[in-house]
Assembly symmetry: C2
Homo-oligomer: 428 residues x 2
């Protein structure tokens, strides 16, 4: 019997050791992982003998995850998870400093000096004020992987700040809010006269040249060869998820404003695109609603693919999005509407019937009461357009001063966000 | 004793089983692989609960590997391994057809229709003629992940085709040639007058506005929101590796032209950038030599990082590169040189002494004999600039017709490359 135990013990050791040796030495899953790309693609190919070219990096921080692009030296997307707790802590942005990310090769990242004297703010994608639950989380939002050159006055310090406020207050109606923010470069359409058309692309077509072409023009800041691209637009995709909420309101406080509660178990979805330029504070947020499908295509990015990879879910929200956009556009003055159509030509406006409604009401003023009532998100998909929650109403212009919106973090978040990069001496 | 064996046997089973269970169920390395980004970054973060945004894909084919960008709908880089055998087979491009890659979501890939009537060729990054060792390998180069809109006449069908020929003939001097090809979007510098300077970026600087700014302008083809960006330039980085060669010449044929053999054990390196536009066939290839360091920064890409991640190796080749570029530039007419300086402003020309040499010889004609002799690559790094092999001489203009360069695949490769996408009917 003693032998049985002895033998068993020795056997366990040999078996476990052999298994460990096999898995760790022969298969080497940990010691020498095979080179795989995203999605598990095998990258063992003779062409890659001297290494896989690197063009971007993903950085994981306490409060956000950022994919950073080495060519534009901008974030590609920055993903956050916001809860009522994450934006009501005591962290203070006065203690935070912008810093070049230590994991980004300095040859491929923006530098602090690139922003000095550029005329652009160092704009956060994940706002510092969303991450007040710890000083560390807030400090980390000042990594340059989270920063993009934004127009300051009238945008980063004003309209965009109110929009950020709007987004974090969605924790009033859902316990878990997910946001993805990033830059866009949208081309515009130019009419060609016959003479110019022949030259486009070096060759005319058989049936005469094209009558228009798509062109992108945007600035870069910094010094060559390491320039930083200035986006023409920014996007945010928001997802307000009630599915893990308990019965009560997520924030355990009455929701600010006249918000409609999201149906329990529903997911609110919205996609927004704004120009990187001063915006008239009276512009309704709904004018910047875009269909997620179109945004995905111009951004070249799939958002929340595990939930919204299902095309039917996107379509449900996008029907409502087209309606909200039309409603917002109808509140603009005619010349504003024309400007916006040009700036958003690559994200075509809603089609046919909706557009006709808008044109018919083109003489209306800004009163929200006159806006056509947009359609409800079609039921059954489990997805609701986020504008149904509070009619896409931004917080008031003066929310910084008044500290409106309640809560401990009310006024503090926006206080110093307007500090643009200091101007450089003439000798730059 | 029998008990000892019995116990041992049972123990092995339990130990191995336990170890297997632990590794496969508890750690789950195979059943449910953790989400990791490139470089093994953990992507388990609450912000990514609904999936990691996807912005690109890497496709591995017989003859090449391509990283494809969903925003520009262009390849980011295409890597090839070329040997004497890979480009001298019997595959025929007449049997190949362009196709949208089945693994690319159609929402994020270029379409065949995007090129029709666009005025641009469907330009291969990995040339079809490099992959004649099997029909399948050649056919695969017609996937749209390998295609970018290139100016046809004077570029894709002419100068660029001669350049591709130059690259594959490097198998004369090294048994293994590695090439990475891709698009670039290079901004140019614009002078601002005082009035305009204040408006750039929406805010002036304290000490008066900047006097110049960097701007990128380029076209897009196709239909919104899924437009395809037209690059302003293209790059190739070549690496001719002799280290695995046997004693004899790699191709076992006398090298074409007046090539110098690469020293055994040496690695030839070169980086080239050309505008996506017709190029005067007399322009010396050396005028398009660029320092690898600068190219990496404007492309936002590290090339052959396992070999050239070592900055000293890049520097060695780049000293020579600056010399070759200066030599090439000196052979241009003054207005051509000015044009090229503007088109390459984001890739600054070689500095100080070298530039002065070039300016001094600005009245010279095109004769190669008058070109200043560029410096040799500094010894000791194991890296030699590729231009030392054959003075960066392109094959003659008429190599297609003459079938020069010998070998079975001589004339065939270029025969039908000039076919641009068919023009669309007017109704597009």
């Amino acid at each position: 019997m003693r032998n049985l135990f002895l033998g068993f013990g020795a056997g366990v050791a040999v078996g476990a050791g052999g298994c460990y040796l096999y898995l760790s030495v022969v298969q080497k899953p940990y010691a020498a992982p095979r080179r795989v790309g995203r999605g598990g693609v095998e990258l063992d190919h003779p062409a890659l003998k001297h290494g896989v070219p690197e063009t971007d990096i993903i950085r994981v921080y306490e409060g956000y995850v950022a994919a950073y692009d080495y060519r534009t030296r901008n974030p590609k997307w920055v993903a956050e998870h916001i809860t009522p707790a994450s934006w009501t802590g005591e962290a203070n942005r006065e203690r935070s400093e912008f810093f070049p990310d230590p994991e980004v090769d300095p040859r491929f990242g923006a530098k602090l000096s690139d922003f000095r004297g550029s005329g652009y703010d160092r704009g956060h994608m994940a706002p510092a004020a969303n991450h007040k639950d710890s000083q560390k989380a807030m400090d980390q939002t000042f990594s340059l992987v989270n920063i993009s050159p934004q127009a300051g006055k009238g945008f980063n310090r004003d309209y965009w700040a109110r929009f950020e406020r709007f987004v974090k207050e969605l924790t009033d109606v859902a316990g878990n809010v997910y946001v993805i923010t990033g830059p866009l470069w949208l081309p515009t359409q130019q009419q060609l006269d016959d003479a110019a058309a022949g030259g486009a692309g070096g060759a005319g077509t058989a049936n005469g040249g094209p009558t228009s072409k798509w062109t992108l023009t945007h600035d870069w800041i910094g010094k060559p060869p390491g320039l930083v691209a200035v986006p023409t637009h920014y996007f945010k995709v928001v997802l307000a998820d009630t599915r893990d909420d308990s019965g009560s309101n997520a924030s355990k406080q009455p929701p600010r404003g006249n918000k409609q509660p999201l149906p329990r178990g529903a997911v609110g979805v919205g996609a927004f695109v704004m120009p990187n330029a001063p915006i008239d504070p009276r512009t309704p947020l709904s004018a910047y609603v875009v269909p997620l499908e179109d945004l995905e295509q111009v951004a070249g990015t799939s958002f929340f693919p595990a939930l919204l990879g299902d095309a039917r879910r996107r379509e449900a929200a996008d029907v409502a999005a087209a309606g909200w956009r039309a409603a917002g556009m109808s509140q603009l003055k005619p010349f504003e509407r024309l400007n916006m159509k040009q700036a958003f030509a690559a994200l075509p406006p809603p089609a046919s019937s909706m557009t006709i409604d808008v044109e018919a009401s083109s003489s209306s003023g800004r009163s929200a009461a006159e806006a056509p009532r947009p359609p409800k998100t079609p039921a059954g998909s489990g997805v609701v357009h986020i504008c149904e929650v509070n009619a896409c109403k931004l917080p008031p212009v003066d929310f910084f001063q008044r500290g409106s919106g309640g809560g401990g973090g009310g006024g503090g978040g926006g206080g110093s966000r307007g500090s643009s990069a200091p101007a450089s001496p003439r000798s730059r």
